[in-house]
């Protein structure tokens, strides 16, 4: 446990090193926030209460999703390219030799990264959004606590998905294709382009049950107070379920992969 805590701390510090890159990322998230916010204003002007949100809730959705974008690695990235590169070059053999579990090691590192990204890349866009637009951010500290828990679960689900994607490199060697498809599914089905509650009919109902919904839609809904009481428990349970399922699948794929691993180069 101490080992994984140390890995998480070093993950945090590793990303904290690049201050200019962080500032550049914050700038980009803020610009995107403004662009999307204006289109949402126009959309909710035409159709108030679209997707069950009023305009200020829709705008909160925009800015919180820009804030969570880096932490939940909604556009991919984080660790999976690095792990794939280690698989491709054969460095993975060294990792498998270590007296640490592969999946837990990378999970700890990714949680450290996410913690930094939540603070370093999340706070400023949300603050700018709150200054420029009327957002409905809760005053209740318990709601914020529930949001943090939900966001953490979202990060774990995201990690579990990307770990599965990363392990595909054992068979494909070059991970670019699967990375792209995974990023794509995440972009669309997390609610980053458009809240999933706006998706029509059965398509929307299915989209809200997929694991990507646990990464953004659920945490934002928790912050907006859409879920309360047993609804909140159900929302968090939904995230826990996906996290457990996907981490389990990752574990199974890992043992399958390591049983067949042939290290290139020798």
């Amino acid at each position: 446990m101490r080992l994984y805590a140390a890995v998480a701390v070093s993950g945090f510090r590793r990303y904290a090193t690049y201050r200019v890159a962080t500032a550049a990322g914050v700038f980009t998230n803020t610009v995107f926030g403004f662009v999307i916010a204006y289109t949402f204003v126009a959309l909710w002007d035409e159709r108030p209460h679209l997707g069950g949100y009023d305009q200020s809730q829709a705008l909160t959705f925009v800015w919180v999703s820009q804030g969570l974008l880096a932490a939940a690695a909604l556009l991919g990235g984080g660790f999976q390219e690095e792990l794939q590169e280690r698989i491709r070059t054969g460095d993975i053999a060294v990792d498998l030799y270590r007296p640490a579990d592969l999946q837990l090691w990378w999970l700890a590192a990714d949680l450290g990264r996410a913690a930094f990204h939540l603070l370093g890349r999340g706070a400023v866009p949300v603050a700018v959004g709150a200054l420029a637009f009327e957002l409905s951010l809760p005053a209740d500290p318990l709601r914020w606590l529930a949001f943090l828990l939900s966001a953490l679960l979202g990060v774990v689900v995201g990690f579990a998905l990307r770990f599965l994607v990363a392990l595909c490199a054992f068979w494909l060697l070059d991970g670019q294709g699967v990375n792209m498809i995974s990023a794509l599914m995440c972009m669309f089905f997390s609610g980053m382009l458009l809240p999933l509650t706006v998706f029509p009919g059965l398509f929307g109902e299915i989209a809200r049950l997929l694991p990507w919904a646990a990464m953004l839609q659920v945490p934002v809904d928790v912050l907006l107070g859409t879920h309360s009481g047993t609804g909140l428990a159900r929302a968090l349970g939904f995230q826990v379920l996906w996290a457990a399922l996907l981490l389990g699948a990752g574990r199974a794929l890992q043992s399958l992969a390591t049983r067949k691993v042939v290290v290139q180069g020798g």
């Binding site: 690049y18 201050r19 200019v20 890159a21 500032a23 550049a24 990322g25 700038f27 980009t28 610009v31 995107f32 403004f34 662009v35 999307i36 204006y38 289109t39 204003v41 126009a42 959309l43 035409e46 159709r47 679209l50 494909l172 060697l173 070059d174 991970g175 670019q176 294709g177 699967v178 792209m180 498809i181 990023a183 794509l184 972009m187 669309f188 382009l193 458009l194 706006v198 998706f199 029509p200």
Partner: protein, 277 residues
Amino acid sequence: MADALARARSVSGGLRAYGLIVAMWVRSTMAYRASFLMTTAGNFAASVLDFVAIMIMFSHIDRLGGFTLPEIALLYGATSTSLGLADLALGNMDRVGRRVRDGTFDILLVRPAPVVAQVAADRFALRRLGRVSQGLLVLGWGVARADVAWTPAKALFTAVTVIAGAGIFAAVFIAGAAFQFWAADASEVQNSFTYGGSTMLQYPPAVFARELVRGATFVVPLAFVNWIPVLRMLGRDDPLGLPGWVDFCGPGVALAMLTAAGLLWRVGLRNYRSTGS
């Protein structure tokens, strides 16, 4: 005369070097054919989903910012194709910062080919044709469905607009790369102007605050990529009330921006100090 001849020779040499490096990367991409097919399909699908989100919006509304869906498709198709072309030609210029940081930029300086050609062709990604083809499809659909009386002159105007738009985005890519000589880690800033700018241009200018539209016209003139020309095609006035001849300034703006970005790149290159590692 001799000066002009030397310049022409260096330009053609640069293009030749660019072509050779591009061909090399295409061959290397084809080594992992499954990945190439997946990434190209993915690149196409990424842009498709982008437009699907707009279609979902229009399942709830008829007009956004005074534009119908086919009219938005004109905006979307034009900017997506322009950005796709610029991204295909020199989308990896944002790797300059990484090369400066790890010292591999020095290798480019000692090779007998123009640095800008080498940087532009670096890791050339043929998969980016995916975005271009999706942009063209949406543009074609918009052209077929929007309420515009098409003439050969208007068709030519559309083609010129798309190419000029690619030039404008190309200038942003080059300026962004030049900026990385000073701030090696800041490659993400240029995404605000390329991808962020293109996202903004997908929607009608009436959606955005006036200052933002003004900024996109006079500061970073992205409005010439599609806003101003498409409004002209649809026979509508632009929100800033600019004179009519401005509508035809796209190619001029693109040339001016490319020149300025080229100068910025030269200044950046001249100021480059190796990390020495």
